[in-house]
């Protein structure tokens, strides 16, 4: 380990993230009483002990440290406040675990991970539990009370079963299960009656298994559902272990529990024997998916069950196909004919494909490049003797190992095992490299694995740029230029996202500069709106041609600006104005009138009034609206429309009289139909009056007069 700690680990609060994640240390906190002047120090290290950041701790008393699934550091304070820092001890945000916790203080806290994300569980001074299952979507849950609980439980753990998070706690010889609503007493099956009081418990990485340690040194191991016992062991050590964690490999039947005392490490499982190690110094256990990491001042080790493939190959005097193939290859290199003998032996059993697969698989579990190489060489050698062995698994493994070896380098310090890497996926690994600001390595991995640009390189460059904008010591121009130099027109780069980050960092000018590089004007709009550059947003939206986007900005402006300024803004943007008119036509007819009024569009105002006359029920209302239209048409110098509308008013009034006089529907017949109806009904005088009043052309009048019925009244009139 690089870190060169002066303190003992036991004097520090320690938290190490799973998947070869970083380590956080809060030093001096225990010695606070001795030297009140000295502030505690919060440090973060890579798994290889390289210092990432160090800050003096200025906030309240910290009870517990923990890492989230996205490698943010959680500092849980005594008052229930949880502060979130990133890997580099930069403060991100904080939240509180609620009033109850604030009043009664935090006694103990645990950080846990489920499919919902990272959660926090708190035991308060009033011996109550509070839970939040996902800190990114904070919903506090206060667990029910444990009846008659007077002192804190001796040990407790968070379980996740069937997507429900529950708490298991031990008080003396009793076990209690707390779910959302109730508290129940439980007894593990096959528990020895003389086992004694529970002192320590451990839940496995996948929440499937549970281990309980009692004050007689007895260890019960079973399923976390408490429905089945797997095995038990009597350690005859009566003091509780400092740490107890499960050590198992996915899909393996061999399950074991690792316990650490001050100077002793014990591995117990389904066997009467146990394995014991001596610990030279203070150690800290980190449970992993497929084993346990053991941290100390000087070393960082990984304890795991040897995978089957490795056992088969490296077991002494193993005759497994993989072992023989490895031997054959070694002999081949020595140019010995034994190579052929070994090979023949495998081939006789028709196990050559298995031998190759075994070697490839085993290579994955090795950490030493030399061993990896010899196994891969053996696989490659064996492959030559097989017809059409699919090359993918071999190639894939070579690639994966190169990536793994690169990140395991102590400078990088992410000691992932092959199993963990596969579970984590390459995408998440790249994210983690980006989090550590290891951009060049991330990009080289993308290029090496030939990931698509959008998925790989572009994404990383974008992250780099987002980091770059936070460098406050450089001027806006410099940063914008540097970013554009590096990113150029790389496909999939979203300049607007980078600009958004710049804006969040309080650099609006830089954000605008960066937005200029964004080729998609549609993408510029939301940020510009957020930055209250609405007018710029409007012209960008119009530039994009996307009318929907223009609408969005227009409606945004409408809420943001006062009516006068809003109208003025639209006035300068004809495209936006006509779209807004369309909107008003459907939704706000009155506003439409104001818009026309503002640009003295009397023709449209006239049309507007004609339109509204048709929604008036009473004749007076209609005439009124039409009269307004006449006025507007005159103002618009549209004599024809004005006269025609005056005629319409005249006709409406006349029709009402006719309707009253003859008790027959005349309203809304056209002039033509009115005249024909009058003629058909024998009111020739009236008809003639209309002919004169409305100056009906002779030609048409003659036709009507002569045939009388050519203009058959519209069906509307003849109901």
């Amino acid at each position: 380990m690089e870190w060169g700690l002066r303190e003992e680990l036991r004097d520090c609060l320690v938290a190490a993230a799973p998947y070869g994640g970083p380590i956080a240390l809060l030093r001096n906190c225990a010695r606070r009483e001795k030297s009140p002047g000295a502030r505690p120090l919060l440090d973060t290290f890579s798994a290889s002990g390289l210092l990432l950041a160090s800050i003096p701790w200025k906030s309240g008393q910290v009870v517990q440290l923990g890492w989230t699934a996205s490698e943010d550091l959680l500092c849980i304070q005594e008052d229930g406040t949880v502060l979130i820092y990133n890997l580099f001890c930069e403060f991100k945000r904080h939240f509180s675990m609620g009033n109850e916790v604030l009043q009664n203080h935090v006694l103990e806290a645990k950080v846990f991970h489920t499919e919902y994300g990272t959660g926090v569980a708190i035991l308060t001074g009033a011996h109550r539990f509070s839970l939040a299952t996902n800190i990114d979507d904070l919903k506090l849950r206060r667990m029910p009370e444990v009846p008659g609980l007077q002192k804190p439980p001796s040990c407790w753990a968070v379980l996740s079963q069937d997507r429900v998070t529950i708490v298991l706690l031990a008080v003396g010889q009793d076990l209690y299960l707390l779910d959302n609503t109730s508290c129940s007493v439980v007894t593990p099956p096959g528990m020895s009656p003389s086992a004694g009081a529970y002192l320590q418990m451990a839940v496995s990485f996948n929440y499937r298994c549970l281990a309980l340690f009692t004050d007689t040194g007895y260890i019960w191991m079973g399923l976390a559902t408490l429905k089945e016992k797997l095995c038990e062991f009597n350690s005859s050590i009566r003091s509780p272990p400092k740490q107890m964690v499960w050590c198992m490999r996915p899909r393996s039947r061999q399950r074991a529990v690792v316990m650490a005392w001050d100077r002793q490490l014990m591995v117990v499982g389904n066997s009467t024997e146990c394995i014991q190690f001596v610990l030279d110094e203070d150690s800290y256990l980190v449970p992993e998916l497929d084993g346990v990491r053991i941290l100390s001042r000087t070393s960082h080790e990984f304890l795991h069950e040897i995978p089957e493939a490795s056992q088969e190959i490296f077991k002494i005097a193993s005759m497994a196909p993989g072992a023989l193939l490895l031997e054959a290859q070694k002999e081949y290199e020595k140019e010995s004919q034994k190579a052929d003998e070994y090979l023949r032996e495998i081939k006789d059993q028709k196990l050559l494909p298995e031998a190759v697969s075994q070697c490839i698989e085993a290579a994955g579990y090795e950490h030493e490049p030399e061993t990896q190489k010899s196994l891969l060489r053996a696989a490659s050698f064996g492959k030559c003797f097989i017809d059409k062995f699919p090359p993918e698994s071999f190639v894939r493994m070579c690639q994966d190992l190169r990536v793994l070896n690169a990140i395991r380098d102590y400078q990088i310090g992410i000691p992932l095992t092959f199993t963990q890497y596969k579970r984590l996926t390459i995408e998440v690994l790249l994210d983690r490299l980006v989090l550590r600001r290891l951009y060049p390595l991330a990009i080289r991995i993308c290029e090496y694995l030939r990931l698509s640009e959008i998925q790989g390189v572009s994404r990383i460059l974008a992250h780099w740029a987002c980091y770059k904008v936070q460098q406050k010591d450089k001027s806006d121009e410099e940063v914008a230029y540097a970013i554009n130099q590096k990113l150029g027109d790389t496909p999939g780069i979203s300049y607007s996202e980078i600009a958004a980050r710049a804006y969040d960092c309080g650099r609006p000018e830089l954000a605008i500069k960066l937005l200029e590089y964004e080729p998609r004007s549609g993408e510029q709009v939301p940020l510009l709106l957020k930055m209250k550059r609405s007018k710029l947003a409007l012209s960008k939206a119009i530039e994009s041609g996307d009318t929907d986007l223009v609408y969005t900005v227009v409606l945004h402006l409408k809420n943001e600006l006062n009516r006068g300024t809003f109208f003025m803004t639209l006035q300068n943007q004809p495209v936006a104005l006509s779209l807004y008119r369309q909107f008003c036509k459907h939704q706000e007819r009155e506003t439409l009138k104001d818009l026309y009024n503002q640009d003295d569009n009397h023709q449209e105002l006239g049309n507007f009034h004609v339109h509204s006359s048709y929604s008036e029920k009473r004749i007076e209302g209609r005439v009124g609206a039409l009269q307004n239209a006449v006025d507007e048409y005159y103002k618009a110098k549209n004599e024809f429309a004005a006269k025609a509308t005056e005629d319409q008013i005249k006709l409406l009034r006349l029709q009402r009289h006719l309707q009253e006089d003859f008790d027959k529907p005349y309203l809304d017949l056209s002039l033509h139909d009115t005249v024909s109806t009058l003629i058909l009904d024998g009111h020739h005088k009236k008809a003639e009056q209309l002919y004169r009043d409305f100056k009906i052309p002779d030609k048409r009048w003659v036709r009507e007069g002569s045939s009388g019925c050519t203009g058959v009244p519209a069906s509307r009139g003849a109901q």
């Binding site: 640009e453 959008i454 027109d489 790389t490 496909p491 999939g492 080729p519 998609r520 004007s521 530039e543 994009s544 041609g545 996307d546 009318t547 929907d548 986007l549 609408y551 969005t552 409606l555 004809p574 495209v575 006509s578 779209l579 008119r581 369309q582 909107f583 459907h586 939704q587 023709q603 049309n607 004609v610 339109h611 048709y614 929604s615 008036e616 029920k617 024809f640 429309a641 025609a644 509308t645 005629d647 319409q648 006709l651 309203l667 809304d668 017949l669 056209s670 002039l671 033509h672 409305f694 009906i696 052309p697 030609k699 048409r700 036709r703 009507e704 050519t710 203009g711 058959v712």
Partner: protein, 562 residues
């Protein structure tokens, strides 16, 4: 699952079968119809009017039923923030579990025909300055280029064409990485504004397909015909039960006979039909000559094809009879005569007697509007006195409510006073040879056959672009509205075409604002010309004819019920 459609133009049969769609409804306000389904999907155009209906549907739904239904909304062709915002204000946005888009911009109608089926595109672009449909057109063209390669040359004429081309160039720049590596299918894209050629849709189409559309209206390749002519003629029944349901037929080039006659002048259809009739009956006669088992077997194997041909022939004979009844009527003839006079430039400057008579007899208003607009366009606008006379006649006869419709037509430039005092139309007509006196309807040698004399301006522009190029008609292009332009899109050297001798160029002609069947026929005629050298594929915002087009511009004002 139940699907809900606002415009049932999408072929959902496949979807229906794959996902067990129970029922399909058209969108209307009120409660949703009963259906025992869990999921309801709304397929809608992103329009606010439709959002109101959907909100109404959803709000009424929630109250009644106990097993809650799940709602989903699928916008065609694009999701709209505006609509979602609107749904949010109505308080129903949260009811939708999925909000997605179905990016269907261009719908294939035939082997060489794509349409966006956006009815209101012309009105929105030219009356309301709402260019949403142009944005969709540009997006559709980008999709087309993603599938069929970057189109190296873009020509265009008109404001909207310019706008679409600009958006295409911009969109291409927005995705610099997506270098298209597909060998281009199209050599040229020609974008044409409908308002460059307002004349053509106003004239009555005289091709077979054009006439079917003019008279019965083709909707989404289907036509509904009066049933009488299609009664099954069986002995003994004596035609007692005439079917009352209209006969519905699908019309596209998959039908061999229809492909042959659809684009012919109607006057040339009769002879083809009778020739076909002879061939088919001769083919059926062959069974008497079939002697050996082998011959009979061969005959039988051809039978389904022959029967299909016979029923196709029967259908089209019936349609042709129906059309003939109308085209031989006196009024059709008079109407056509007036149209042709206008188009050939006779008496376009004074009030036309026939139009006056039609108004006096209160013929269909749309017919009147088509004629008056045609006269106006063929005269580069009417004298104020003439225009006012027509307008007064229309308002007095059909009602004053049509004042807004007339106003719309004026705004669209279909009806206008002659301002400059100069009539450009004769120059345009002569230069572009829009009127051909010696038209051959049976064996055409020029596109003018589709209107029996008038060569559609739009198609002439396409034809002249291919040969000899627009440079020869600069003067006329300047008289037509909007800019004309040429853009080039760079292709990587590997994709540049090395033309084989005699290989045809392929041009995509995109009509912004609609295209008629007669124009399509004219372009197909050009594709088939032996020495043409250019093949055409047609895309449009909507398939139109004069009637549907004018209708889309009319303002529907209903007097309140007293």
């Amino acid at each position: 699952m139940a699907a809900h459609l606002s415009s049932g133009r999408v072929n959902l049969t496949a979807l229906r079968e794959e996902h067990e769609v129970e029922k399909m409804f058209t969108l209307k306000p009120g409660r949703l119809p009963q259906a025992d389904v869990k999921n309801i999907i709304f397929f809608v155009r992103p329009k606010l009017e439709l959002m109101d209906i959907i909100a109404d549907n959803v709000l009424r739904e929630d109250r009644g039923r106990s097993p809650q239904r799940d709602f989903h909304i699928l916008f065609v062709p694009r999701r709209s923030l505006l609509c979602e915002q609107w749904l949010k204000e109505q308080g129903v946005l949260g009811s939708f579990i999925h909000r997605e888009q179905y990016s269907l911009d261009l719908i294939p109608f035939d082997g060489d025909l794509l349409s966006m089926e956006s009815e209101s595109a012309f009105k929105e672009c030219y009356l309301e300055s709402d260019q949403t449909s142009l944005y969709h057109a540009a997006k559709g063209l980008m999709t087309l280029q993603a599938l069929y390669g970057t189109i190296p040359q873009i020509f265009g004429k008109g404001e909207c064409a310019r706008h679409v081309a600009n958006m295409m160039i911009r969109m291409k720049r927005e995705f610099p990485g997506s270098q298209n590596s597909i060998f281009p299918v199209f050599d040229t894209l020609l974008l044409l504004d409908r308002n460059v050629d307002l004349l053509t849709p106003l004239a009555t189409q005289l091709t077979y397909e054009g006439l079917i559309d003019e008279i019965y209206g083709i909707q989404n390749t289907y036509v509904k015909l009066p049933p009488e002519k299609f009664a099954p003629k069986k002995q003994g029944e004596g035609g007692k039960d005439l079917p009352t349901e209209p006969k519905k037929l699908q019309l596209n080039s998959a039908e061999e006979l229809y492909a042959e006659i659809r684009d012919k002048n109607f006057n040339a259809v009769g002879s083809v039909l009778s020739k076909k009739a002879k061939i088919i009956s001769a083919a059926f006669e062959e069974r008497h000559h079939a002697k050996t088992v082998g011959e009979i077997k061969q005959f039988v194997s051809q039978l389904p094809h022959m029967q299909a041909a016979r029923s196709s022939l029967a259908n089209h004979t019936s349609i042709a009879e129906l059309i003939k009844d109308i085209t031989t009527s006196e009024d059709f003839f008079d109407n056509l005569t007036v149209e042709q006079e206008f188009m050939s430039g006779i008496d376009t400057d004074k009030v036309n007697n026939y139009i006056e008579d039609c108004i006096a007899q209160k013929h269909q208003l749309i017919k009147i509007l088509r004629l008056v607009c045609l006269q106006s366009v063929c005269n580069s606008g009417l004298k104020q006195k003439v225009l006012d006379h027509y307008k007064r006649e229309i308002l007095q006869t059909y009602g004053y409510e049509h004042i807004l419709t007339l106003n719309n037509l004026e705004k669209a430039g279909l009806l206008k006073p002659q301002t400059s005092g100069r009539n450009n139309y004769p120059t345009i007509r002569k230069t572009l040879r829009l009127w051909m006196d010696d038209v051959n309807e049976q064996n055409p040698n020029d596109i003018s056959y589709v209107y029996s004399g008038y060569a559609p301006l739009s198609v002439r522009l396409a034809q002249l672009l291919a040969r000899p190029g627009w440079r020869s008609i600069e003067e006329v292009l300047k008289m037509l509205p909007g800019p004309h332009f040429e853009e080039r899109q760079q292709l990587p050297t590997g994709l540049q075409k090395k033309r084989q001798h005699g290989e045809n160029r392929v041009t995509l002609v995109f009509f912004l604002g609609g295209v008629t069947y007669a124009e399509i026929a004219a372009l197909r005629f050009l594709s088939q010309m032996e020495d043409g050298g250019t093949e055409y594929v047609i895309a449009t915002t909507k398939l139109i004819n004069g009637t549907t087009w004018i209708k889309s511009l009319m303002e529907k004002l209903e007097p309140p019920l007293a």
